[in-house]
Symmetry: C2
Subunit: 352 residues, 2 copies
C-alpha cells in the first residue's frame, strides 16, 4: 500500500490502510511498506508528477471541447462515431506499446513492466469498458426525456456520484470542508452553464431524473473502479495497465461498430466522412484518455473531477477569443464558486 | 471589553483586545473584565438571545420584502417615502421609550439605563444616519447608469464591503474559511437573483460600477460604525442607545421631508396616499430596524449580513405560495451555495 502511504497525510493512516484492505476491490497483492515515507525529495517528485498529469488532463480536456465547437462550426461531421471511438482505443494501445518498448530498451523486461499477465490481474480490466458501454447505450434513451442543454446540466450529477462512490468503494475519506467543496464544485459548474433555457430542466419528468442519476452512478463507478484496478498494483507499470484497459476498450468498440454501423462501414468505408479535424479530435481524445489513466495512477478521481471542471471553464474563456463567444454573469459567478471550491478542497485537506 | 471576551472564542484573545483598544472607534470607557467568563449558563443565555434576535431580523426582513411585493400587487402606492421614513424613525423612538419606561419601573434608573447622556457619548450617533442619507441621495443618481434589477445585483457588493470594513474598522478577524464563505455568500445571493435580463448588468458603464461600490462602502461603513457605537459601551442599555440613534434618524428624515416633499405634504397632507398596507410596512420596518440594532448589540454585522441573505431566499420561497412565483434553477443553485457558506462560516469559526 505504498502509494497510499505517501500520498495521504492522514493522521489515522493505519486505520485507513486497514479500511482499504477490507475493501473487496483492493485485496490481493500485498506491497511492502516503503521505508522512505519521510523522503521529501521523493514526495516532491511525486507532487510534481501529479501536477504535470493534472495540468495535461485539464488542457487536453479543454482542447477536446474546443475541437468539438470548431468541428460544429466547420459543418456537420458525417463520420460514424463508433469507428472514431475504435480508433481512439487503438491509438491509446499503440501509444502505450511504444512507451513500453522504450522502457524495455532502457530498463529491460521486469516483473512490473512485462506485458504478459495473469487471469487474476486481467479479469477486472473489461469492467470499466463494459460500464461505459452501458452508459453510452442509456445516453440514447435519456434524450427522450431531456434535451441536450438539459443533459449537460444533469451531467453535473457525475461530480457528486464520483465523490460518493470514491468514499464508498475506495474507502477514502474527505473532510467535511472537502465535502462542502464538492457540493460547491457541482453547484458552481452548473451555474457556469446556466443560460436562458436552463429552467426547462426543472420540468424533466421523473424518468429523466432517474436515468440521469443512474448514468451518473455508472460513470462515477467506472471511474472509481478504474482507479481501484490501477492502484491495486501500484508498482505495476502504468503503460501495461493502460494497454490491457484499452485492449478491452478496442474489443467493446469493435462490437459497437458491428451492431450499430456495420452497413455504413461496409457501404461507405471505414473512414467515410473523416476530415483533418476528425483525426485531430481522435488524436486529442487518445491523449486525454491516457492523461485520465495517469491521473488515476498518480492522483485520484477527485483530482480528475476538479481538473475536468476547470477544463470546462477554460474552454468557455478560450472560446471568447477563438469564436467570439460571450461570457454570462452566471459564468462569472460559477467560476468564482468553482475557484473557492478548489481552495477549500486544499484548505480542507490541511486541516483534517 | 466583556462582551468580546464572551462572544469570541479566539485563542489569541489578548492580542485582539489590544487591537480593539488601539482602534480609534473603540477607545473610551474601560469596562472591567468579567470574572465569570467561563460561566456556561450565561454563555448559553447569550447564545439564545443572539439566536432570537437573528431569527427576528430574518423573519422581519423577509416579511418586509413580502409586504413590498404585496403593496406593488395592490397597485402603485402614492404616499411620500420621506414621511413614511420619518414615521418609521418616530415609531422606533416610541418603542425604545416604552421599553425603557418598563425597565425603569422594575429596575429603577441606573447609570446604564438613564436617558440623559454626555456630548462625548452622543456626538457619534448622527453619523450612521448621515451616511445613510448620503447613500439614499446617491441612489437617485445610480439609476442613470443601471436599471432596477441590475441595481439589485450590484447591491450584493454590500456583503463584501461589510466584511472588509468589519475587518478594518472593528479589527475583528475572520478565518480564511470564513472569508471564503463570505465570497460564496456574495456569489450565492447574486446567483439566486439571476434572471434572463441579468447579463445587462455586465454592460454597466464605469460610473455605475464606481457608484455601486461607493454606495456599498457607505452602507457597509454605516453598519459597521453603528456596531462600533453600540459596542463601545457594552453595559449601556440598548434601548437608550437606540433612542439616540433614532432621534437623529427622525431629525435627518424631517429635513428630507422639507427638502423633497414639502409641497406635497403642504398641499395634500402628511398622510396623503397612505393605506392599511402602508402602516403595516411602517410598523414592520420599525421592528426590523430595532432587530438590526439588537443584532449589532448581541451579535455583529457578519451575522446581520447572513441573516438578511437568508431573508432574501425566504422571501422568494414564501412568494411561491403567496403569489404563485416560480423558482428558477439559478435560485436553487444560489440557495445551495448560500447554505454551504453558512455552514463554512460556522465550521471556519471552530477551526481557527
Amino acid at each position: 500500500m505504498e502509494y497510499r502511504k505517501i500520498k495521504d497525510e492522514d493522521i489515522d493512516r493505519d486505520v485507513e490502510v486497514e479500511d482499504v484492505e477490507k475493501s473487496f476491490l483492493l485485496t490481493g497483492a500485498a506491497v511492502p511498506l516503503a521505508s522512505s515515507v519521510g523522503d521529501s525529495h521523493r514526495t516532491k517528485a511525486q507532487w510534481k508528477r501529479k501536477s504535470v498529469v493534472t495540468c495535461a488532463l485539464t488542457i487536453l480536456t479543454s482542447s477536446q471541447a474546443i475541437l468539438i465547437v470548431w468541428s460544429k462550426r466547420a459543418g456537420k461531421y458525417e463520420y460514424s462515431v463508433t469507428t472514431a471511438n475504435f480508433l481512439v482505443e487503438t491509438l491509446k494501445c499503440a501509444i502505450s506499446l511504444l512507451a513500453l518498448a522504450r522502457i524495455w530498451r532502457t530498463e529491460g523486461v521486469t516483473e512490473d513492466n512485462r506485458l504478459t499477465t495473469t487471469l487474476d490481474e486481467v479479469i477486472v480490466y473489461p469492467i470499466p469498458a463494459a460500464l461505459y458501454l452501458v452508459k453510452n447505450l442509456l445516453q440514447y434513451y435519456i434524450f427522450a426525456y431531456v434535451d441536450a442543454p438539459g443533459y449537460q446540466i444533469l451531467k453535473n450529477f457525475n461530480i457528486i456520484s464520483t465523490g460518493v462512490l470514491y468514499r464508498i468503494i475506495l474507502k477514502r475519506r474527505l473532510s467535511e470542508i472537502q465535502w462542502a467543496a464538492f457540493v460547491l464544485l457541482t453547484a458552481g459548474c452548473t451555474t457556469a452553464q446556466l443560460n436562458s433555457n436552463s429552467d426547462h430542466v426543472l420540468q424533466t419528468p421523473v424518468q429523466g431524473w432517474v436515468m440521469a442519476i443512474v448514468m451518473a452512478l455508472l460513470s462515477g463507478f467506472a471511474g472509481v473502479y478504474t482507479e481501484a484496478i490501477i492502484k491495486k498494483r501500484p508498482s505495476r507499470n502504468i503503460n501495461v495497465q493502460n494497454f490491457w484497459l484499452y485492449v478491452f476498450g478496442m474489443g467493446f468498440n469493435a462490437v459497437a461498430i458491428l451492431v450499430q454501423d456495420f452497413d455504413a462501414v461496409m457501404n461507405k468505408g471505414f473512414f467515410h466522412g473523416y476530415s483533418f479535424i476528425t483525426f485531430l479530435m481522435i488524436f486529442n481524445h487518445a491523449l486525454s484518455g491516457i492523461a485520465v489513466s495517469m491521473v488515476m495512477k498518480y492522483a485520484d478521481n477527485i483530482v480528475k473531477v476538479y481538473s475536468t471542471s476547470v477544463a470546462m471553464l477554460l474552454t468557455a474563456v478560450v472560446s471568447v477569443f477563438l469564436f467570439g463567444f460571450h461570457l454570462s454573469l452566471a459564468f462569472f459567478l460559477g467560476t468564482i464558486v468553482v475557484s473557492v471550491a478548489i481552495y477549500l478542497h486544499s484548505a480542507g485537506k490541511m486541516q483534517r
